[in-house]
Symmetry: C2
Subunit: 538 residues, 2 copies
């Protein structure tokens, strides 16, 4: 973080980005009265607050996992699966006990009590949580100006919804990747705000295409003014898994300065960044000697690091690092937007749930502390690496895989794995023919972040394939997989526009985050069998 | 609840009430795939769900208060205050231990586990919570049709926000009481939806004035089409404390049928209904022999009981019965609206926090059960009765109070208490003059529900009073109280329109819900002294 002097220049007034709806949100009438609140000795008969005596929870406790529950490097041996099971079912977890009392004798700045957490509170949330998040954000993301604001929200879906309603009037459009998170689109659409797609490569959104879309913008042709908002999932992009490095982010940011664009950086997978996939045969997981500093320095930076004009609204979430049911995350952005988000919060959720806030605050501030949480995140990162590797290893064992460097297209700059049927002896005439004709079944880029494999199915190699069949084939394949007992994400669901949907049929998004290793193995058997059957190879 | 046959008649299609924004909310793409979810033996690699192994909470526990922690009748003796303190500080609470494990061997229909509660879930919430709420709603509110839908939300502010956006297009208006809950107004306003005020009497909204407003509606004069939505806090109305009885509700409902209006019934204070206030001297709290049935039968019914056309959207909240930090409540309404609310939830909060859902579900379903919760509510009701009585007793002891039946005006049908200065010996010439001239200081109707005293300050008796000073005097008095250490709610904050604000200056909303009895007593000393000083009586 920069010094106190380096505040956001007043010259850059971003308030012209506010939507009409957002501008008309009233400052809470209580704000004017707030100077009286919390004064020592003051008696409040103002709010509709029940006495904490009537909160039926006298104390809250949890058995929490130790922050070093997971190793910082994946296990190499196949025993890892067994040990994973052991941890799960034999209660071999190392846990610690934590308790949150109803009343605390310490100051509410430092301690968590149910008296405060379960009472009506401000939309800013518990003070110790605010402090933790502020420090965390400052140390990890290194924002470029010191008066950066943080504000909690009820998860990134809530955060994005508030952001898009704060920035966009009906009829406006926002820029996003060709494929993107469908819930974001579904949040914006009812407000008359629709996406414009920007081409991607192996690092996610392309800065050259972003500039092209903006410079060639034709308002009457598009039926909307040039967009002033960009939405991106820059790390472990959903669904493609692409991760945007520092230089690409800088390029995108510069285009956004040039065209006066606000960036909504939705980054739930930030800490699930992984080293590149190396095939099993040649892989060795070095025992990590890295400390926290080295771990953090290897992560792709946030857009905040380049944001000298306050154009970035970063959305962080505890969904992937603590649990989705937390429904807790935070905005990091300039103070003007943060104030509007807070007003919006006051008239929707008021504040995220106090039970969740209390438990997560206590866990982060008392149980684990800042460095404990970093250690926890390193463990998670390693677990996801192991899951990704296991999944790709198993999938690779079922097909003949060929590594191909992609020079262009949506995977430009990446090495993709292309899957061919295995040639069996006695030779199967169909599969042999496929190999001979270079007729692959599917391909993918091993992701370096997130939870997903984005599989491109080579329907053009489907027996008696006609181009117009792609969409039908995607659904047909999805149904065959479901009937065989494996649910995956159908590709069409992630297309940002109808055009993209038509162009890009033939994908499946497969998550390696949820099921245990044995089940993963089983699912890959099913997927392989269904694919081979589908392509007429069985 | 009626029999299965008595479903909402298909003839009454309420979908024409949906706003353009709401209509354009898309049905979740996952919905079409949902028939595959949860099938036995199916492996899901579809969602971005972390394995529960990575949820850092191995189990969650709480010490919860016994459901019969509070007596069903208030204590008469002044010892009650002492015993209250004793309960608070001497840990004399009777608590029970409850634990929620990460994994449960029982079915998710019956049991709560963190594996499910902390995972991504549907916007409908945990199944045992849905079941509890469904039974509760059916038994307590007795809806008139059997296919009534229930859907959880993140508190009534979230609920109201979703309702108003689902029903109203920008430029439309909604009907509400002259004074109302300011957060509701603040939720609607940014969407271009503003209130129209309907006159009140001692039972809250007047049905004759509602009909008058609607029958005389002049679209060009008002600049908006005739409203089709009515928002009301019918029990313990905020801020006036009025409670609407059965016949008034029936009248209002009939007007709503006539004019095709949807009723949003915001009812957080439903279980804080109290018997009428009786002055201390003549009061005796009979030992309640009432069972739950009698307790419930005495409560003013919900609008749901009269709703044969599905026009009622009822908002219930755990904020006043468990804790505000729960951020949990539910809609009860027709299935068409509920489906839209669910879509809205999916793209905002997704679902209320899983920590809160888990704890409250376990408390209600396992710890207390249905009848335990009813017993808890009876205890709360008695506590609030005692608080109200104590507050009014103390206030009465500081002034000469006169009981006056109000035949007209906003308190028509109620007996108000009018406060005059006490005549001291040696006689204070000013106060004597006030008494002689019938110059009262303030008045109020002892509420029969909720948390608030709505004080009308008789500024017309202020020395050298000029009518145009009322607004200034209200602020001046509020500031004097705050400077003396007591915060109350300034009346202007609750005016539903600017006109009402101008007409009705001179109110304070005082909450008797939060502070302990000793502090209440102290605050009343301060209020009395400030008022007397303000009126030049000291």
């Amino acid at each position: 973080m920069l010094s106190e002097n380096e505040k956001l220049p007043k010259a850059i007034d971003l308030s012209h980005h506010l939507s009409e709806v957002s501008k008309s949100r009233e400052t809470s009438p209580l704000k004017g009265l707030a100077r009286y609140f919390g004064k020592p000795g003051i008696i409040s008969l103002a709010g509709g607050m029940p006495s904490p005596v009537y909160f039926p929870v006298a104390s809250l406790s949890a058995e929490t996992l130790a922050f070093d529950s997971f190793a910082t490097t994946p296990s190499v041996s196949s025993e890892s699966n067994v040990s994973w099971f052991w941890r799960l079912f034999s209660k071999g977890e190392r846990t610690e006990h934590m308790t949150i009392p109803k009343y605390s004798t310490s100051s509410p700045q430092d301690s968590v009590s149910l008296e405060i957490a379960l009472q009506y509170g401000t939309a800013q949330g518990l003070v110790p949580l605010q402090n933790f998040i502020r420090t965390f954000t400052s140390r990890i993301y290194k924002p470029q100006y010191s008066d950066v604001a943080i504000l909690i929200h009820a998860g990134n879906t809530d955060g994005f919804g508030r952001a898009i309603q704060t920035l966009c009037n009906p009829g406006e459009m926002f820029l996003t990747e060709e494929w993107t998170y469908p819930s974001a689109l579904a949040s914006a659409k009812p407000h008359g705000v629709n996406p414009v797609s920007v081409k991607i490569d192996g690092e996610g959104m392309r800065s050259d295409d972003l500039r092209k879309v903006l410079s060639e913008w034709n308002e009457s042709l598009r039926g909307a003014p040039r967009p002033h908002v960009l939405y991106t999932v820059p790390v472990g992009q959903n669904p493609t898994g692409a991760t945007m490095g520092a230089s690409r982010k800088k390029e995108i940011y510069d285009v956004c300065v040039e065209y006066d664009i606000i960036i909504i950086e939705d980054d739930p997978y930030f800490f699930l960044q992984q080293d590149p996939y190396v095939p099993k045969a040649s892989r060795s997981y070095p025992k990590a000697k890295d400390g926290d500093t080295e771990f953090l320095s290897k992560l792709a930076p946030s857009f905040l690091k380049f944001d000298y004009q306050g154009r970035v609204i970063r959305l962080d979430s505890f969904s992937k690092t603590i649990a989705p049911g937390s429904r807790l995350g935070w905005f990091t952005c300039n103070e003007i937007f943060a104030e509007r988000f807070e007003r919006h919060g006051e008239t929707s959720t008021q504040a995220p749930c106090g039970f969740g806030q209390a438990l997560i605050t206590q866990l982060l501030t008392k149980q684990w502390g800042y460095s404990g949480y970093i250690r926890w995140l390193r463990g998670l990162r390693s677990e996801y690496t192991q899951r990704r590797d296991f999944f790709i290893d198993e999938l690779s064992s079922r097909f003949s895989m060929r590594s191909v460097y992609m020079a262009q297209g949506p995977w430009a700059g990446c090495t993709a794995l292309i899957a061919y049927p295995k040639v069996k002896r006695p030779r199967n005439s169909v599969s042999e023919k496929l190999m001979l004709n270079d007729q692959s079944i599917f391909s993918f880029v091993p992701p370096t972040s997130g939870m997903f494999l984005w599989l491109k199915i080579h329907f053009e190699n489907y027996p008696s394939f006609k181009p117009q069949d792609k969409a039908i084939l995607e659904i047909k394949l999805w149904e065959k997989l479901a009937d065989a007992g494996v649910l995956v994400g159908p590709g069409w669901m992630f297309a940002s526009t109808d055009d993209i949907q038509k162009e890009t049929e033939g994908h499946l998004r497969i998550s390696f985050s949820l099921v245990d290793f044995e089940t993963m193995k089983k699912s890959i058997t099913v997927i392989s069998d269904v694919l081979q059957d589908f392509f007429g190879l069985l």
